[in-house]
Symmetry: C2
Subunit: 224 residues, 2 copies
DNA sequence: ACCAACCACATTGCATGCAATGCGTTGACA
DNA sequence: TGTCAACGCATTGCATGCAATGTGGTTGGT
């Protein structure tokens, strides 16, 4: 039983499309023609595909215009910044709860991820680094023990992931980000919620300062 | 052009179902049979209805089990509390931003709502009171000027609205809540973000302390 | 030469029909 | 009498066909 047979065709289609959008295979603004996409997804019919699109629209990943079809959600700089502000806020809330409630075992798991991230950094495996980095943040949020918070945080991250990582072929700021993560893990181990909160806020602010320029360039190229 | 022809039948069905769930016309755990519900919704076919259900599932308002159909999402006490904690957190984030960014005109609008709420209180119009109350909170959040925050806040409120207001036939705590709202509006006028945040937190905590008992009774009755 | 109305094509929106899955019931056997 | 298996019904899952809407191109007029 392949892992993908998890659930019905609607769920599979939604998962595949979600992944393609998050990874950037389908760029923002890209039209999603029902018939065209259906041929790329095992030739499944339009009905489950439409259901999947409606779900992704509710998640904010695609935009559906009545009688005009679906497109991959294209966010403006300020919309990305709004979502990023939300993410920082959610992480801040989670950080303080996490420092009170997280177990030593969970902290160990995060430390293990942290070491994996260091390895990926040392070996120059950029995509692995990004993925582990994201997982660390998610696990810190999960540490707050609030499933709804975790869900919303994950959904918000998915919406802007492409904007934060897409153009980052070069590892500008990479060493700096790793150093910040060292501090973050230390603050978590010390269970210093207020400090953790501020470190996370600064970490995201610094990261966006770099990514923003790439996104701006990309948007300008799109116009030109 | 009737106001309901806003959008296509999927959107209309979603809006109606959403309203029915939030208002409690469809109680938590209620099975939503596609064919049965379709007859209650102008006899529209199952296809747009299914699309609407998928959207509501993505919003967390309904729960879909593969091959077993949809039910109105039934939340446990702790799930309601998780969402409430999230709401309090989001309001707190919004409160500090709102105190920096909100315009005097928006404050005036909130004050006007506040007076309407007082009127509803004086005249004993409970449902009007609830609705205006909710709108005040939403407008405070909107005052932060972050659309994504506003959207997520609204969605979270929708998920637990029924649990907070459903059983409140009697107006326990009503006068107390109005007094708290007076303080809240004052803090907003003074643009005291930290105070506003704490007032909102206390307001929700006090409100839930009462509503929780009603929800617990309801859940126990359901078992018995 | 430019603009506007019209027509044909492509795409989405929706209804219906059939296949597949789950559930309740009945009947037989231990 | 209790339990398990097989059958039938009801419901969901999906594909397809038709109607409605939007789009682009062409033609006719000014």
């Amino acid at each position: 039983m392949p892992e993908n047979s998890h659930g019905n065709r609607t769920q599979i289609a939604a998962a595949k499309l979600r992944q393609m959008i998050i990874a950037g295979d389908l760029p923002p603004g890209q039209r999603i023609s029902e018939r065209e996409i259906s041929t790329h997804l095992d030739g499944l019919s339009r009905t489950p595909l439409r259901e999947a699109l409606k779900m992704l629209a509710a998640e904010g990943l695609v935009c559906i215009s009545p009688n005009r079809g679906a497109t991959v959600a294209a966010l403006s700089i300020s919309e990305v910044e709004d979502i990023l502000e939300l993410i920082v806020g959610l992480e801040g809330l989670a950080a303080e709860r996490a420092c009170q409630r997280i177990s030593d075992a969970e902290i160990s798991e995060i430390e293990a991820l942290h070491r994996l991230m260091h390895d990926a950094f040392r070996d120059g495996r950029l995509m692995d680094y990004f993925e582990i980095n994201q997982r660390i943040h998610q696990e810190i949020v999960d540490g707050a023990g609030n499933r709804e918070l975790s869900r919303i945080y994950a959904a918000a991250c998915a919406r802007i992931q492409r904007y934060r990582y897409a153009g980052n072929r070069r590892h500008e700021r990479w060493d700096r980000a790793v150093a910040e993560h060292d501090q973050i893990v230390t603050a978590l181990k010390d269970r210093d919620g207020a400090l953790l909160r501020e470190l996370l806020r600064a970490h995201h602010r610094n990261g966006w300062r770099v990514a923003r320029i790439l996104v701006e360039n990309e948007l300008n190229e799109g116009k030109a």
